[in-house]
């Protein structure tokens, strides 16, 4: 009886060891998992986009700086122009005109 029990335990144990070993071998732990090509493509794309974004930022920064410089220049020109206009207005005699009862030498009309 005892021998029979021992044999049965031994068989069960052998079976368990066999299946565990089988599962372990089937899992092929010595083979490294292949990376998913779609993930690799996504990673590449992300890197490319980050590089593009860096370039775009550089270009935008440069253009913004050029725009600010041009804006400053234009504002200075406008200020100069206004100052010139004020100076001219103050210096030049105002137009002289009055309503008269004379026959006109010429006429003005919608141009």
């Amino acid at each position: 009886m005892t021998d029979t029990s021992h044999r049965a335990y031994a068989v069960v144990l052998a079976l368990v060891v066999f299946f565990v070993s089988w599962a372990a071998v089937a899992a092929k732990p010595w083979v490294t998992a292949k990376p998913d090509p779609r993930l690799a493509a996504l990673a590449q794309r992300e890197q490319r986009l980050r590089a593009d974004a860096r370039l775009v930022k550089i270009v935008v920064d440069r253009r913004l700086a050029a725009y600010r410089a041009a804006l400053g220049l234009r504002q200075a020109q406008i200020a100069q122009s206004k100052a010139r206009a004020v100076a001219v207005t103050q210096a030049a005699p105002a137009p002289s005109v009055r309503v008269v009862n004379l026959p006109p030498l010429t006429i003005t009309r919608s141009s």
Partner: protein, 272 residues
């Protein structure tokens, strides 16, 4: 009094010179007439070979003549000063309204007109002018005023004079009675006069009346209660800009005569 009349810039030009007849006066009048022709060749939008037409076609020039640069700068300053009421970039709007050839050739009737775009960017740097994509310039009004001022300077060397380009006029020396309407005559001893209105240069499109004074905010011929505005200013260029701005509703500080659509005449800005 010497008087010479001719056609230039699509309108009637009149030169009055208070000087004795002779070779000197004739030479001055010849120079004045030639100057109109020269400036028309620079600023006409109707001449294929003009400098302005070339700029409008190509969108840029790196070797603009001093006259073109100066007038474009004056026009841009006027756009800023009038808050956009005066705008040299109304070219496409005027063309869209039907004024796409010299006025004598514009058909009196035609299909409905579209609104045109205005307000495009223009960059001037030295002799370089760059137009924003799709932007074209019409220097018709201000160009005429500039030409009047230039020619008046030239003619003044021969004596007191008046130069009148279809209503835009300037004087140097002397006193000149100028008819503004059948009832009103202004005596001008210094400065210039310009008139803007919708009583001339009119045509019809799609049953509606069109004219050449474009409201830049709508891209269509301006609607309003004014028929005509006459403004007195230091120069014909200024008078032209102010007259157009006043016609479009700007409050200006200059002697002026306003004629409303219902026929009323109003004197303003110190005229009595």
């Amino acid at each position: 009094m010497l008087r010479r009349s001719f056609r230039a810039m699509g309108t009637d030009i009149e030169l009055l010179l208070d000087a004795p007849a002779g070779a000197r006066a004739e030479a001055a009048l010849d120079r004045a007439e030639a100057e109109f022709e020269r400036l028309e060749q620079v600023m006409s939008r109707f001449r294929e070979g003009s400098e302005l037409s070339q700029l409008n076609r190509e969108g840029r020039t790196s070797a603009a003549s001093p006259d073109l640069v100066h007038v474009v700068e004056l026009a841009l300053e006027a756009r800023e000063a009038t808050g956009g009421l005066f705008d040299p970039t109304v070219h496409d709007a005027v063309v869209a309204a039907g004024y796409d050839r010299t006025f004598d050739d514009v058909p009196a009737e035609g299909a409905a007109a579209e609104a045109g775009s205005c307000g495009g960017g223009v960059q001037v740097d030295g002799t370089s002018i760059v137009l924003e994509a799709g932007t074209r310039l019409d220097l018709g009004g201000i160009g005429k005023g500039y030409a009047v001022d230039r020619v008046c300077e030239l003619l003044a060397v021969a004596g007191p004079c008046l130069v009148n380009a279809g209503g835009d006029l300037a004087v140097r020396g002397g006193s000149w009675p100028v008819g503004v309407s059948a009832e009103i005559t202004l005596e001008l001893t210094r400065g210039a006069i310009a008139t803007s209105g919708r009583d001339r240069r009119r045509w019809r499109r799609g049953g509606g009346e069109m004219h050449h004074l474009i409201d830049p905010s709508t891209g269509r011929p301006a609607a309003g209660e004014l028929l005509r505005v006459t403004v007195v200013a230091d120069t014909a260029t200024d008078a032209e800009v102010l007259a157009k701005a006043a016609f479009l509703g700007a409050e200006i500080d200059a002697p002026r005569v306003l004629v409303t659509a219902d026929g009323r005449t109003v004197l303003a800005g110190g005229l009595a």
